[in-house]
Amino acid sequence: MTDFLYPFIDGEERDAGALLEDLARSAEAKAAASDDLRRTTLDGLAGQLDAAATEMSARFVAGGRLFAFGNGGSSTDAAAVASLFGHPPSGRPLPARSLAADPAVLTALANDVGYELVFSRQLASSAGATDIALGLSTSGSSVNLLRAFEQAKRIGALTIGLAGYGGGSMAQAGTVDHCLVVSSDSVHRIQEAQSAVTFELWRRVQRCLVEGALDVD
């Protein structure tokens, strides 16, 4: 009886057919947009991906390890990157781990030194000059990622940042050796494209290691 207050919400709607059709159409449109974004992103970043993968391979050959990190959904994407490099479906397993994997470490650092330092403190204690720091953010401006890249740069690690929108602060910071930007303003579409980007990085690193392209240096 309050329909006059909310004329746009129809509490008496009973036929789900129209909604189901709308939902399916919407899913198709979003899937097509995701597909386009993933393809154009990989095309646009091809040169940067080659360069980043070549340097990553050099670090792995030198005994380096990959540290991946991000917040929220991006932390799960970081875990997926670590898992892909460490336990690949094919090719050579490489040392990689996520810096968000251990709740004791994460909550201790967040509680005692502040959330903005949860990743940088771990890099300070674990990472060295041959290692790789890879951070994922959709905004590109997460403060704890920026701090982590500063720390990684200080110790000479290779820094790789994935960002959306225009790259955010990550693109301006001067601490990210390879800033891979997905040009979109939808968090979900950015994350999907970032998964495609990290998968391509992994593929290229594996190819580099097999082809021994790094012996040239």
Partner: protein, 233 residues
């Protein structure tokens, strides 16, 4: 040409996603918790859960969702899940998943199985959302797209409150679910020729004369107060 669903018609998966999203929204409207499990790749379950718990779109309703740890999902869900809850499994085809999904029927859960790679039987879950036959879809963004879409579509359903009530909802003294023949039950205790079993409608006492001795945890098919088959769980 879509790379997303290169090996099957896009329309089919989209329609399945739409049905699953509406079913999930209806469960949430009734107070359900969404349990998320991705054996071997816990990050996917965590990603699904965080989408619902902490939506990226400001003003979108936060919904109860929990990632189940990789270990013994059966033991965890047996104690934690309530009848009416929902379970989304993100995984490739897997015997452990099929086993758990038989059991969740006895617990009264609505199940969604999303994955890629070799396709399981359609009857394995209430909603089977198979995104691609290509196992690579797990790594290259297509699987992530699948669960993002499930979240996005579920929230669209909340804009249609009139459709959030189950058309065949339980009304009156009889449970429509339980009037079906061959309901699944999980044995809680057994004594002599009787057993206490958990079903979608609660705890019931049934006779086990036809199947012989049963043990706690056994899955049994029930009909008219009688266990008629022991099911491999």
């Amino acid at each position: 040409m879509s790379q997303w669903l290169d090996d099957q018609p896009v329309a089919v998966v989209s329609a399945e996603l739409a049905f699953a999203a509406l079913a999930l929204a209806r469960r949430f409207a009734d107070g359900a918790t969404l349990w998320c499990w991705s054996p071997g790749a816990p990050e996917h379950a965590q990603h699904v859960a965080v989408e619902f718990v902490h939506p990226v779109i400001v003003g979108t309703r936060a919904l109860p969702a929990v990632a189940v740890a990789d270990g013994d999902a059966t033991a965890t869900l047996r104690t934690m899940a309530r009848a009416g809850d929902a379970l989304v499994v993100v995984s490739s085809g897997d015997a452990a998943v099929s086993g758990l999904l038989k059991r969740t029927e006895a617990w009264g859960m609505t199940t969604i199985w999303m994955g890629c790679g070799p396709r399981p039987e359609a009857s394995s879950a209430d909603h089977l959302l198979w995104l691609s036959d290509d196992p690579q879809a797990r790594h290259d963004g297509r699987l992530v797209l699948g669960y993002h879409l499930l979240w996005e579509l579920t929230h669209v359903c909340f804009e249609h409150p009139g459709l959030l009530r189950e058309p065949s909802a339980t009304e009156g003294p009889t449970c429509t679910t339980c009037s079906d023949e061959g309901r699944m039950g999980e044995v809680v205790t057994s004594q002599g020729d009787d057993a206490t079993v958990r079903t979608a409608c609660g705890i019931e006492t049934v006779t086990t004369l036809l199947v012989g001795p049963v043990a706690p945890g056994d899955l049994v098919l029930l009909h008219a107060g009688t266990a008629i088959t022991v099911v491999d769980g």
